[in-house]
């Protein structure tokens, strides 16, 4: 990988009462990407996060964030990292602004800097109107947004978000996802856990799937998708006015095409690389009207199912 690795774990292991919750985990997160951590409940995602932040000591192995050892230099790690816990809580008696100010102070931010930053993040998550309302009166969704604001107020280089969209309505989910998508541009790498696969598919560049504390698979999302769906190949769907056998033969002869299947007016072409341009050209050169050519989309569901069938 040519990108800088900002988060790395080496054989990270955690045991609770003799049960191995996280088992020799090796993760790599590159700078300025959105990394999805997936897995069924109890797979060890949250425990992994706690170890990354130095809140829990690993039984063996180590984690490094920006080169700092999470167990030995937790303060350095924590000053660079923002964490949104799954079960997040605020001081109900304090207002949204006061809650954020407390966090800003714990991060040694000056008053002016903190106020400016607080206004900015409240605006970003759409809570400006209720900034001076006690958090006790907030709805679940509002608290979730405040949680995101809470992570961003310290301007982290790495944001670890555990279920960032839990409890939000569809509109809120979109807002938050857009916000998360924009973070890498501002220099914040994101690691997020989520059970909603379509969300992960929409915003994550790379994913890792955990099951029973073990890493099932890790990698860039598009590569994994192709592997799951077509054994690492591309599938291209071609719709024409008339899919004659000659056309099938011609497409089959294009270099890189592995197989062509006919299904009504549709041709399903399996290839080694993205050959959409070459295929369209062949169809048109043959005098057949081309309706559409598209790369078949995989869904994260397929990836998830594939690995869990194997596991």
């Amino acid at each position: 990988m040519d990108k800088k690795i900002v988060l790395e774990t080496q054989d990270l292991t955690k045991r609770y009462d003799g049960n191995t919750v996280v088992d020799h985990l090796n993760l790599h997160v590159a700078e300025n990407e959105v990394f999805g951590l997936l897995g069924p409940n109890g797979a060890g995602k949250t425990t992994t996060i706690l170890m990354l932040l130095g809140l829990t000591e690993p039984a063996s192995g180590s984690a490094r964030i920006f080169g700092f050892n999470s167990t030995r230099e937790p303060l350095k790690v924590k000053s660079l990292t923002g964490y949104l816990p799954e079960r997040l809580g605020f001081y109900d008696g304090l207002t949204a602004r006061q809650n954020l100010r407390f966090i800003a102070r714990l991060n040694n931010m000056g008053n002016d800097e903190a106020n400016q930053q607080i206004d900015q993040v409240l605006e970003a998550v759409g809570l400006t109107k209720v900034a001076d309302t006690a958090v006790g009166k907030f709805s679940r969704g509002m608290k979730q947004r405040l949680g995101i604001a809470d992570v961003l107020v310290k301007e982290p280089r790495l944001a670890i978000l555990d279920e960032p969209t839990a409890g939000l309505d569809p509109e809120g989910i979109n807002q938050i996802l857009d916000l998360i998508t924009g973070l890498p541009k501002m220099g914040t790498t994101v690691v997020m856990c989520s059970h909603r696969l379509y969300e992960v598919q929409r915003i994550c560049h790379s994913i890792a799937i955990l099951a029973a504390g073990k890493l099932v698979v890790e990698g860039a999302l598009d590569t994994l998708g192709r592997e799951a769906l077509a054994g690492g190949r591309y599938r291209i769907e071609v719709e024409t006015a008339d899919s004659s056998p000659q056309l099938v033969e011609i497409i089959g002869k294009i270099k890189g095409v592995k197989s062509v299947e006919v299904e009504g007016n549709f041709l399903h072409v399996t290839t080694d690389s993205d050959l959409r341009a070459a295929i369209s050209k062949a169809v048109v050169d043959n005098g057949v009207a081309l309706t559409q050519v598209k790369m078949q989309e995989f869904s994260l569901d397929d990836i998830y199912k594939k690995y869990f069938k194997e596991g």
Partner: protein, 293 residues
């Protein structure tokens, strides 16, 4: 840590809990003053101490201010400390705070210090209110020695309160349920306040010495003795004296230095008890796992 102390103090002073505690303290001050009003004419002022009697005089049916303080200080300590740590866990704020770049111990240190500051402010208020109204009532100003004695008494109150708060914080670290940790602290308080001195010690003790030693295992006894030595200067020894000994006593007050010597073991033991409570909760808290569930 300063940030945490500031936040905790702000929390305490805006909370209903503290408001109620302040009301209680005011009530106790009023009752103590009334007791002094009823009883102060009867006190023996041949010792040369007048002002100090405001605190130790009881009325016909109302106990003296120091009795009230002896009862209320543990309650205040417990009320300030019983949910210090476990509330952070139950509201889910603990993992949020601990993921900030602060040392973990600054959380528990900050809470303990903020509690002590609150307690000190409350008790200082009480003593000052009583002094102020008392001064108006009797018109005799306190001597320098009386002021010093009162100040040492104040310090011993804070230490005594710190012990109970340390104990309550210890329970709040060990027990996750708020109600149970409160009950546990109150149970210890009841045990030492009533059962231990009234039932267990008389039943177990075989000799007078053993009786005294057992009695002094209770922080309440230590505090009562410290109070007595500081505010009743004529007391020459703590604990029981044989009637023969009493008849040889010269009825004059001890100088401040001698009273301090008398009370020194009590004070150090109370400091040690408070320190042990805090140290145990500190260690348990530092080693506690922040678990996923």
């Amino acid at each position: 840590m300063i940030t945490i102390i500031r936040k905790e103090l702000a929390d305490y002073f805006t909370s209903v809990r503290c408001f109620i505690l302040f009301l209680l303290v005011l009530l106790a001050s009023a009752a103590g003053l009334y007791a002094a009003y009823e009883g102060i004419r009867g006190v023996d002022i041949s010792t040369g101490f007048v002002f100090i009697n405001l605190f130790t005089t009881s009325g016909e049916s109302i106990p003296s201010l120091v009795t009230f303080i002896g009862i209320f200080v543990p309650i205040i300590g417990i009320a300030l400390g019983f949910d210090a740590i476990n509330r952070e866990y139950s509201t889910g704020t603990m993992s949020r705070i601990l993921s900030q770049p602060i040392y973990r111990d600054s959380v528990i240190n900050g809470k303990f210090l903020a509690g002590i500051i609150t307690l000190a402010i409350m008790m200082a208020t009480t003593l000052l209110i009583v002094s102020g109204f008392g001064l108006r009532m009797i018109g005799v100003p306190p001597s320098a020695e009386e002021i010093i004695r009162l100040f040492i008494y104040f310090v011993s109150i804070v230490i005594f309160g710190a012990f109970w708060m340390g104990l309550a914080i210890l329970f709040s670290v060990i027990i996750r349920n708020l109600a149970i940790s409160l009950l546990a602290s109150l149970a210890v308080w009841l045990f030492f306040g009533f059962f231990y001195t009234m039932l267990i010690v008389p039943a177990v003790a075989k000799t007078v010495d053993m009786y005294l030693v057992l009695l002094r295992l209770s922080p309440n006894t230590l505090f009562d003795e410290a109070t007595m030595a500081m505010l009743l200067p004529q007391s020459r020894g703590l604990g029981l004296l044989a009637s023969g000994e009493v008849s040889y006593m010269i009825p004059n007050p001890l100088p401040l230095g001698q009273s301090l010597l008398l009370v020194w073991p009590q004070l150090t033991t109370m400091i040690a008890l408070a320190a042990v409570c805090f140290a145990v909760s500190y260690i348990v808290f530092m080693r506690q796992e922040i678990r996923a569930t």
